[in-house]
């Protein structure tokens, strides 16, 4: 059974989960954006050399 009533500890449980979600999302986005950026740049340079 889903339990979303964290009282009286909501002020501790939700920030802990919220901060974790934001940091994990930011870490993932950072890795994926950098991967796309350098993949595109490498493909452009290799195409230029051909």
């Amino acid at each position: 059974m889903l339990d979303l009533d964290m009282s009286p500890y909501g002020a501790f449980v939700w920030p802990a989960w919220g901060i974790s979600a934001v940091v994990l999302a930011a870490l993932s986005a950072r890795a994926l954006i950098a991967a796309r950026r350098w993949k595109r740049e490498l493909a452009r340079l290799e195409a230029e050399r051909k």
Partner: protein, 251 residues
Amino acid sequence: MPWGAGPRNRLPMFGLANPDRFMRFTGPLVPVLWICALGLLLLGTWFSFTAPADYQQGDTVRIMFIHVPAASLGLMAYGALGVSSFLALVFRHPLADAAARAAAVPGAAFTALALVTGSLWGQPMWGTWWVWDARLTSVLVLFLFYLGYMALRASIDDEAKAARAAAVLGLVGLINLPIVKFSVDWWNTLHQPASLLRSGGTSVDPVFLPALLTMMAAYAVLFGAIWLTSIRTEVRRRRVLTLRARAALEA
């Protein structure tokens, strides 16, 4: 000499140290890891909020499901950074250096999450946000090693020199890992002793194990996805720098 062309790569243990082979091998693996991480995170979150509240800790027990995996991954990521630093120093292999570099940011983030979520758990349970006990202090030192590693790399313009200096620091920081792990056994700490991996079996109530173990697997697979993606990005970034340098020489 291109990456991985040296004689050391004829040894079987260095098979994947060849960047081309590494890129071919990890190419299909990375999307699978990302999908598994997302699935495990969703499943673990569901388990975390369907588990009953603890009879003593109430709903704060749900912080355990994100605090313990973050702390474990903070340690494991530093282990990966330290071992990669050792391989980079001894064998001077650029892929090992790329692996060390790629572990730093996610490792620091997991360690920071362990400190923050631990603090948010400590206030309602211990009545304090922070104490200078051995476990908390050694995890803070671990976080400072990560920051020092990243700052050292960023402060030296010559990438080869930066890599060597950072690898030495990364290696030194390995000393801190057993201190973090065994701090709760060696000293009297407010932090509880090991409850999951300990002789005599786990002391965690079985009702919390599905959530805890699923979230630990989710964090581990997510770290694997981020780490491999970042190593692959680093390989490509260095190829780009090489091509740019070659183009500048030819111009």
